[in-house]
């Protein structure tokens, strides 16, 4: 599944500490869960003003999942 890599790519491009980006993907039958963890100081960068960055990442994840006929939930863990 490439969604894990997708979230990694995007998150690493946004944060100050790319090495601290951790992404986990959990597969269900029709649904997937992607968990994104970043350095404490970078949480704001992946969420963004009014959650706009997180929302944009979810939009890409949703479009990619749709093509695969799945649904994916993206969680940002602090």
């Amino acid at each position: 599944m490439a969604l894990k890599e997708l979230v990694e790519t995007v998150a690493r491009a946004l944060v100050d500490e790319p090495d601290q980006v951790e992404v986990r993907q959990i597969e269900g039958e029709h649904h997937s869960l992607v968990e994104l963890k970043v350095a404490k100081g970078d949480i704001g960068k992946v969420i963004g003003k009014d959650g706009k960055t997180a929302q944009s990442m979810r939009m890409l994840v949703a479009a990619a999942s749709q093509k695969m006929g799945r649904r994916t939930h993206l969680d940002i863990i602090d």
Partner: protein, 215 residues
Amino acid sequence: MTNGNATPTFADAPEELPDAQAQNLEENQRSEGPSRRGHSRRQRQQQPQDEQPFYEGDERAQEALQFVSTVLQQMGMECRARLCRPREEEEQGQLPEIVVEVYGRDSGRIIGKRGQVLAALQFLTHRAVNRPTIDRRHVVVDAEGYRLRRESTLATMAQRLGQQAVDEGKIITFEPMNPRDRRVVHLALAKFEGVITKSEGEGDERRVQIIPVRR
């Protein structure tokens, strides 16, 4: 800046194909749909293999292209990205905008409902390219000319409303729009005699106003 035909990428490849194949390819691209209508015949003849010339851009533009290409691939989308020549004349002292164009069969998915996916991709690309410490660059991510078509419709409407503002001597206020669309309106009316434009309101409620002025 680099000339389109100096770029040694796969834009050049079709020239090496046997004639029959090359012609086939040309036809395929013609039948691609109404999205490319805006291009002149001259351009079409010069660049039969690709109606929009390739553009190399600078290092940060390459960085943006790299980001978009990687994202597309990891999304499992059957499409590719390339850089295009900036669409607008930049004001003096400003860095040229970065224009990334997505093309291929999954472009529709990349545009998404009312351009939402495209907007998200542009927003994230902007974020990736514009780090806090360096000069800000405008970033445009388009797919099959979607944004270009929308923007030209919006610019035409702005000019029509600009004329209306002059004729009626009244202030015309737009619906709330995103920064990019507001910018299109401002630019469309920048050289329009008899009006000035201003943005009023905060956040999602920010609207462009067209204000008539006496000369």
